[in-house]
Amino acid sequence: MKLKVKLFGDLIRYSPSGRDVFELEVPGFNGSDATVKELIRALGIPEGEVWIITVNGVQAQAERILTEGDEVMIFAPVMGG
C-alpha cells in the first residue's frame, strides 16, 4: 500500500529519504488492517514523540485504519521559543 507521509519538526529524522514529505510503500499492509500506529512503528518513531496525527487533513487517532493513497501528517509536540 502506498501512502503519502509528511513529518513535522524533529520527526524529520525518521524520514527514510531525509526529506519531510515522501511516499512510502508499506510492505505487509494489506488495505483494511493497516493502522496509523503500524505506520508510526514502521517508521521507527517512538510513541512519545508523536503529538498529533492527521489523515487527509483531519485529526486521527493511532487506531485509524489507512487505505491506499492516504495522506498522513505526523506532528511532534511544539515546545516554545
Binding site: F8, G9, D10, E49, W51, I52, Q59, M73, P77, G81
Partner: protein, 625 residues
Amino acid sequence: MPGYQGKILRVDLGTGKTWVEEKDEMFYRRYWGGRGIIAYYLLNEVPREADPLGPENVLVFAAGPLTGAPFAGSGRNSVGAKSPLTGGYGDAEGGGFFGAELKRAGFDAIVIKGCSEKPVYLYVHDGEAELKDASHLWGKTTGEVEDLIKEELGDRLVRVAQCGPAGENLVRFACVANDLTHFAGRTGMGAVMGSKKLRAVAVRGKGQVQVANPEKLRELARWMTENAPVLAPGLTDTGTAGGTVNLSVAGGLPTRNFKQGSFEGAEKISGQTMRDTVLVDRDTCYSCPIRCKRVVKTETPYKVDPRYGGPEYETIGSLGSNLGIDDLVAICKGNELCNAYGLDTISTGVTIAFAMECFERGLFTLEETGGLDLRFGNKDAVLKAIELIKERKGFGDLLALGSRELSRRIGCGAEDLAMHVRGQEIPMHEPRLKYALGIGYAVSPTGADHCHNFHDTGYEKADSRGFEELKGLGIYDPLPASDLSPEKIHMFWTVTNLRTFANVAVICQFVPWSVQQLEELVRAVTGWNTTAAEILAAGERANTMARVFNLREGIDLSEERLPKRFFQAFSEGPLAGKAADPAVWEKAKITAYKMAGWTEEGIPTKECLARLGIGWASKYLPDKG
C-alpha cells in the same frame, strides 16, 4: 577568572564618564549574568518610581558566565532596564555574537545611566570604552547604522547592538538589534536606548574567555556538533516557524487577534513553505551548528533585503495568522521593516491586531485611522502601519503606545480586546492550548513572555523528550496540557526556573543540552562544583529579584491575569468548547504563588529571599512581606 572577566563597564551618559567596576567570584556565582545582574542593578540603582524614559533609569547589557566560551548557544546577551511598556522590570535576550564579543572585549556587562544631550554611541574595545558622536546616525535604519559604524571604526568585525529609529522615537515596544538579525525584542529596551540618546553599542575584543577545563568543554562542544543533526533537525530544516502548521492543527495558532486558533492559511506561511520558496540561506549564532536563523530574499510583489534575515515563528504568527494574513512574502516584508526600524515584531503585530479588531467593531473610523483600512488580512495597511509606528505619525503615534495604553485611551470596552498581560503583548502561544503557560504569562516579571515560560504540550507523555528531562529533576507524572493541578504547577516552576537559568548563564534555550550536560558545561567553564540544584536556584533567584523590583515599583498584582478572551472557548476547531475555568485558574495562580514561597497575595516572603540567598532584597518588599 574562568567564565567571567570580573569587570563591569559603567557609563554615565549625563557626564560622559566611563569607569570600570570590579566584582568578585561570589557576585557572579550568586547573580550569574543576564537577568540576575540586571535585576541586581535595577533594584540597587534605579530610584523608586523613576521614569523609564528618564535619566534615572539604568540600562544594562549583560552576558553571563557561560557566554563566549566556545560551545553551541553561547553567543547571547540580555538587555534590561525598567520597562516603558510595562512600567516594571524589563529585559530581553538576543542571539548572535554580541554577548561573546563583549566578553572578549573584557567585560561581563555594561551598566549605563543618565541621558546624553546629543546622540552618541559607545565603542568598547579590549578593556577600553569611549563615547562617540552619533548625530550622523540619528534617523537612519539599522542597516545604515551598522555600515556607518563599521566603516568609521575601520573594523568589519565589530559587533553592533542598536535601537533603530523606532527606539529614537520612543516607540514603547522598540527593540534592540544585534547584527541586524538578532533581537532583544521584548519590553521596549530600544525606547530606553532612544531616551538616553544612545544609538548603538559597538564591541570588539581580541581577548579570550578563560575556561577552567578546556578539554572537557571541547568534548561537550564536539558532542553537540555531532548530535545536533539528530537532536534538532527540525530547527535546522524549517527554523522556529516549523511548528506553525502543528499549532494550527492543534487549534493553538493565534489567529485574528486570538479570536481563532486555527488558520486556513497556515501551510502557506509555514516554515516548510518558507524553506521551499523564499529561503536563500540559514544563519547562525556564535559557535552554533544548528543554524536555525532564516535568510529570505524576494523581489516581488515586495522586495525583501536578505541582510535583515527572515521571520521567526513569533513573527509568522504576529504579522501573519494573528492579522489574518496568509501571504508569506508580505510577512517577510513586515519582518524586514520591523528589523530595519528596531520594532519588536510581537508587540507590533499584536497591537495592530488589537486595532484591527477595534476597527472591524467600529471603535475606530477610517477617518480616525487616517485612511488605514485596518481590516484583518489587509497586508498593505499593516505595512503602512509599521511605517507610521516607527515615525509616530498620525494613527501610528497611537499604535506606538502599545495595546494596553491605547485600549485605555479608547475605553468603551476596548480593554477586553487588548491581548496583553501587564502591558506586554501576548506572544504566539495560546493559553487555551497550554494552560500552565497562561499562569506563566500572568506571574512572569516581564508580563506575557514565552521564553522563560512553560509549554505544557511538551510534557504530556512519559516517553517524550521534554518529560524525560524532568525525571532527572524528580518529576515522574506527565500531565495533560489542560491540567492545572498543584502537580502541574510544580512542573511549571521547575521548567520556568530551568529556562530562566539559560537567561542568567546567558545561553540559547534551543540548543538541546540536557540538565546533566548543563551541569557539566558550567563545571567545565567556571570550575565551580555546580549541581542541578544550583542551576534551578539561579533561575529562581533572578526571577524573584525581578519580582521584588516590580513590587517596589508598586505593580498592581490584580493585573496578574489573562485577558477575558482566554477563558472563553473557541466556537469551532480542535479546541472548541475548551478553556480554563476562571475559578480553577485563579486557584492555580495562588498555588503558584505559594509554591514559590510567596504569600497568597503574591509577595515573596523574607524566608523565600533567605532561601535564595538574597535576604538584602527584603528591604524593598511592601509591608506584608
